[in-house]
Symmetry: C2
Subunit: 355 residues, 2 copies
């Protein structure tokens, strides 16, 4: 029997609710397809930080290293500054395990209304490929001067290696996707050093893929185009920060951030990849058991695919999409229903078992 | 008779078409309200750069200094790298003249369809207040290493003075606007030094305005909220880069970037302020005489307001809005019409003269 060891980190807030719910669904899919997912739970969170002064133990990364994948909920909670919680858990995992690709679908699901006029499933269907290990997210910099004279410096670092590998991933991915079109997010008119370099590398790597169309937009106008003409995109590649913004805006145009998944990939498979929803820990509704589990479940489907379990991944997606349009299934309040996290996930599991 | 000296810089591409068109409308408004706008034209552009190696003469800024305002079209054209053209003209003007506020309305105009479902004029009506003189837009940084080992460093600089003054402007503006709500764009979970500092100053300045509600979102989720719930915003304040992105996304949700205006303000009036549309030089349609002049005209209305000519500003806006819904006025192709830049502007001028 095929077995996969998965490190699960529910994290904070609604992460603690949607992760167990999603695990039920994934486990059912595994059983149906004849393999086993062995989840090991790591209770690392802002709670841990408040108790121990650390988001995870010193050997945290080593404890994760031998798993086939990491299944993460959400990190961050009021009481712990965000830059502490994220640089103490999520960001070190992405970096240490060279998860340099953050892959996020922007896809309008059936049963979910886009805030954009006249859009149906199929009209919005593209991918954001985000650089996930360097760039604008950097701890280099600091403060100098005091009071009125204070100055803060924040450094962004773009390496040729880091830039080339994400661009190459985007072009390879576009080639596999069939639509063969990569759009680069730049801002070379304002960011004097980093983005002209990014553009240069985009042109150089693009030249290696004559069969893939390439274009680029400044990130400001690109954001506007997500809203005005989302049909035109296939694969959008951006730096850590631009990819972050665009891959939240993407779920925005497909109706809700609550359902959007993401994969933090180490494409070489030297290290475990990590799967997490795009949404955060949602302190405002945490503890009520009403969070939408779809983003976490869809992230799980991406994990199954990464593990090579395509059939199980497809089953999960089929169950999820069918449940969204099933009139008798009670959805969570964010989708206009009265359901609970557990109830909605259980309905999806039942749907899946029925196939 | 009141006289104002205005430096006009049409710049590149469609800037050369919409600036003269807008000047006709503004001149008519001035005549009607009993004052004179004296335009002095500066032919600085990428053409200039290709001929002279400079976007403007060495004493360019000095030549602008004594004007009451600068009226700019668009800068940037294929053949000159964007970071050369922008850092050679637009950005030095913003900085030298301490135009540290970039003010941009996000307002759905009558006669223009929002790409968002069910939005009518009135539903989307807020302001982006963008820091315009420092932050992520910086020439500090550079490259080191060669070939595979190349590394690029891009530095962002946030000063306390620069941060406080833009935040204070936002709170003052919100107070004047009546709705009294300021939303800050942050990303303190990823940008380790700059954004925690920004948040600290936002809290400190906000405390000086107990009568103004203050909240903050990470820029990624904020972008999504622009699409999902634009009604909730009144004044959104952001850094140079975040303000840039959000103030293009804003016009995106109100239908088209072609109509959006902006004011680069030196609130202390020590230096001239500059008024320019949000759109760029649009090389794809330049030279055809079909560019939409609305963004330039609306920028002109903001200029009139800045000059204290509120009545003239209101007249321009009334003529502009009336023209957008007048069935007998031929609009430019981007609005679905067959009109020309000159013809559309002339119709607006006629409307204005008829009031
Ligand atoms: C042309 C470019 C440098 C400029 C900017 O980013 O400031 C433009 O996008 C704007 O918003 O005025
Ligand atoms: C929590 C935060 C640091 C993170 C990011 O910006 O990468 C999140 O927004 C995401 O997109 O995964």
């Amino acid at each position: 029997m095929r077995r996969y060891s998965i490190a699960s980190i529910p994290g904070d807030g609604i992460g603690r609710e949607v992760v167990p719910a999603a695990i039920e669904v994934l486990t059912a899919a595994a059983a149906k397809c004849g393999f086993v997912l062995e989840f090991r739970h790591f209770d690392w969170s802002c709670q841990t930080y408040l108790k121990t002064g650390k988001m995870m133990p010193d050997d945290g990364l080593d404890r994760l290293r031998d798993h086939d994948a990491v299944f993460l909920g959400a990190v961050g909670f009021p009481g712990v500054p965000d830059h502490i919680s994220l640089w103490g858990l999520l960001l070190p995992i992405r970096r240490e395990f060279e998860q340099y690709v953050n892959l996020r679908p922007v896809r309008l699901l059936p049963g979910i209304a886009s805030p954009l006029r006249d859009k149906a499933p199929g009209d919005i269907d593209f991918w954001v490929v985000r650089e996930n290990s360097e760039g604008e997210y950097s701890q280099i910099g600091g403060r100098t001067g005091t009071g009125e004279n204070e100055i803060v410096v924040q450094q962004a670092i773009f390496t040729r290696r880091g830039t080339d590998r994400i661009l190459r991933y985007a072009f390879d991915f576009a080639r596999r996707s069939g639509r063969r079109h990569v759009t680069s997010a730049t801002k070379s008119n304002g960011l004097y050093h980093s983005m002209p370099f990014w553009d240069e590398r985009f042109a150089a790597i693009g030249a290696e893929y004559p069969d893939v169309a390439a274009d680029q937009y400044h990130v400001d106008i690109l954001a506007a185009r997500f809203v005005i003409s989302p049909e035109r995109f296939n694969v959008v590649v951006g730096s850590n920060l631009f990819g972050d913004i665009l891959s939240d805006l993407g779920p925005g145009i497909t109706g809700t951030i609550a359902v959007a998944p993401s994969a933090n990939l180490n494409p070489e498979r030297r290290f475990p990849s990590m799967f997490e929803p795009v949404h955060g820990s949602a302190p405002d509704i945490a503890g009520q058991g009403i969070a939408n589990p779809i983003g976490q479940i869809w992230s799980g489907a991406m994990m199954l695919e990464h593990l090579g379990e395509d059939e199980a991944a497809a089953l999960v997606m089929r169950a999820l999409e069918a449940s969204l349009i099933a009139p008798d299934i009670e959805k969570t309040p964010d989708l206009g229903g009265n359901g609970t996290t557990a109830g909605f996930a259980e309905a999806i599991r039942t749907k899946l078992l029925g196939f």
